[in-house]
């Protein structure tokens, strides 16, 4: 990474985001209802990128924050009749708070122990939710809102935009240097003054915040939440797949990964739904074997100029 170079990656991402905004405004509901799912995927990919992509801790339980956001919005909207935007704010806030509490404990584990702890967390949370009748029978809350596709769309669009800018500047800042050092050699990092505890918790909390916000928008877009799908392990794997395919830790990788995972799965869903996880699984295996640094890594190696500007 070269901090002196102009931010072509950032400008490129801005152009893509501008296209996405224009597409929703000009092409109508049919297109925006497809693109909104793509943006939710991207928001989730960027959120897990703060944890697994940057810090390097594999989080199999990221769906937890998504579920927290979904229940926050569903509860506020269905019981208190609140504005869904308030629900998104609450989802983000609760995601952040839960990440702080959980992170203080499970970030003490490293490697595979951390990964196992994240899986256990989701199983526990699922069963806790089922014990609370306030969260609906079988953890199901359904609400009725007037159809507002553009409001949903531009909320998630704004979240993704914030994530892109934040990822970009974190990577270039002092924190980014510290985070990359930790990802590589936690002990050596602390022996030059980096505090692994603080930086890991920062990354985890950013992941929780944006995971919660994206989960809230997801509940908004499908007008409800159900415990089974909300805690579905597949979602965690999808998020991991997106950043592995796109390029872990980078600013552009999560968006690339979201496109690669979402577009084919959209078409498969309407034809052979069962083939979707199979296809993504195969893709991840191929990437892990031949392109561990994802599409971004491939592009960087293919061209000297891309190597300098892709972040």
């Amino acid at each position: 990474m070269n901090v002196q170079k102009p931010g072509l990656t950032l400008y490129g991402l801005f152009i893509v985001m501008a296209f996405l905004a224009a597409a929703a405004l000009l092409l109508g509901v049919a297109v925006s209802s497809i693109l909104v799912v793509l943006l939710i995927y991207a928001a989730l990919a960027y959120s897990i990128n703060f944890i697994t992509g940057m810090i390097g801790y594999v989080d199999f339980g990221h769906v937890l924050f998504m579920a927290i956001g979904s229940y926050a919005l569903a509860t506020l909207v269905s019981y208190y009749g609140a504005n869904p935007l308030l629900g998104v704010g609450l989802g983000a806030l609760l995601g952040l708070i839960f990440a702080l509490g959980i992170g203080l404990i499970i970030l003490r584990f490293r490697g595979v122990y951390f990964a196992i702890a994240t899986v256990v967390l989701v199983l526990a949370a699922y069963n806790i939710v089922l014990q609370f009748p306030q969260l609906g029978v079988g953890g199901e809350i359904i609400f009725n809102l007037t159809f507002q596709p553009l409001a949903t769309y531009f909320t998630i669009w704004t979240i993704v935009l914030i994530e892109i800018v934040l990822t970009y500047y974190v990577n270039r800042s002092r924190i980014g240097f510290g985070i990359r050092a930790i990802k590589n050699e936690e002990d050596a990092a602390s022996s030059v003054g980096v505090s692994p505890r603080t930086l890991k918790l920062t990354g985890y909390m950013l992941g929780g915040l944006f995971g919660g916000a994206a989960g809230a928008v997801y509940a908004w877009s499908i007008s409800g939440v159900t415990a089974g799908p909300a805690f579905d392990f597949t979602f965690s794997l999808l998020m991991l797949a997106m950043i592995i395919i796109g390029g872990v830790g980078t600013s552009i990788g999560p968006l690339l990964g979201a496109v690669v995972v979402y577009i084919p799965s959209y078409f498969l869903l309407t034809t052979v739904a069962q083939a979707q996880p199979l296809m993504i699984g195969l893709l991840v295996i191929i990437m892990a074997l031949f392109l561990p640094d994802g599409i971004v890594g491939l592009l960087r190696r293919s061209n000297q100029r891309l190597r300098l500007v892709l972040e």
Binding site: M1, S173, G178, A181, E185, A188, A189, S191, G193
Partner: protein, 245 residues
């Protein structure tokens, strides 16, 4: 004026006593060599001072502050930096980025990555690695990785360096080169150094004072010249029969 002092430090690992009541003083700008046979507790002592391990009993002070309960990354803020016996570069970064991390997070309060990278370049040329600054850290040779460890320690702005076998595993030519470089750096920067070393030639020619550990105890302290003639030291290294001969 930094003055490092370890007082009656002991360390137990389960039933094994790695250090027994070790007391050590490191005045400003002094190079203190720490030698001893394998398993004598040298690295453990260095780790305790650097905050990587907690002593079972005893205290470590820097000037008048106790530092033995601080975590490693906080110790760096007080001006101590340790190199690793087995180099641990951040291998996904270039040499200059490695040093920039130390500049950004050391005690020097340089929060701008751009300025930190410039400073990293300066430190790398000081350790004669200027031509390798853009090399990925995992492509460096063993000697270069050791130099990078040194550059990172200097990059933190430390006034006390804890060097764990930076001269081991080098060819005679590289060793000569490294000793010469170390002398030059010490003359310019005047840091204090606690150097753990197996390579006798290096310790004896660099240190003003040498301390010898055996089985966790200090068995001798003195000038390099006194140490090589000390009965107990000769016994510890060669056994009593050779001492008698």
């Amino acid at each position: 004026m930094p003055f490092l002092k370890a007082h009656n430090v002991s360390k137990n690992f389960g039933g094994v006593q790695a250090l027994k009541d070790v007391t050590l003083e490191l005045p400003e700008s002094v190079v203190l060599g720490l030698i001893g046979p394998n398993g004598s507790g040298k690295s453990t002592l260095l780790n305790i001072i650097a905050g990587l391990e907690k002593p079972t009993s005893g205290i470590v002070r820097l000037d008048n502050r106790r530092i033995d309960s601080l975590r490693a990354n906080r110790v760096v803020g007080y001006g101590l930096a340790k190199t690793h016996q087995i180099p641990k570069p951040f291998s996904n970064m270039t040499a200059r980025e490695n040093v920039a991390v130390a500049v950004l997070y050391g005690r020097r309060n340089i929060p701008s990555p751009r300025l930190a990278l410039e400073e990293a370049d300066r430190v790398l040329s000081m350790v004669r690695m200027g031509s390798r600054k853009d090399a990925p850290a995992n492509s460096l040779t063993v000697q270069e990785k050791k130099r990078l460890e040194l550059a990172r320690a200097i990059g933190t702005g430390a006034s006390i360096l804890l060097l764990d076998e930076v001269f081991a595993g080098l060819s005679p030519e590289e060793l000569k080169d490294s000793i010469q470089l170390f002398k030059k750096l010490h003359n310019e920067l005047r840091f204090s150094v606690l150097v753990v070393e197996h390579v006798m030639r290096a310790v004896l020619s660099l240190s003003q004072k040498v301390m010898v550990l055996e089985e966790g105890r200090v068995i001798a302290t003195g000038s390099p010249d006194e140490i090589v003639h000390d009965e107990k030291v000769i016994q510890a290294y060669l056994g009593s029969k050779s001492a008698a001969a």
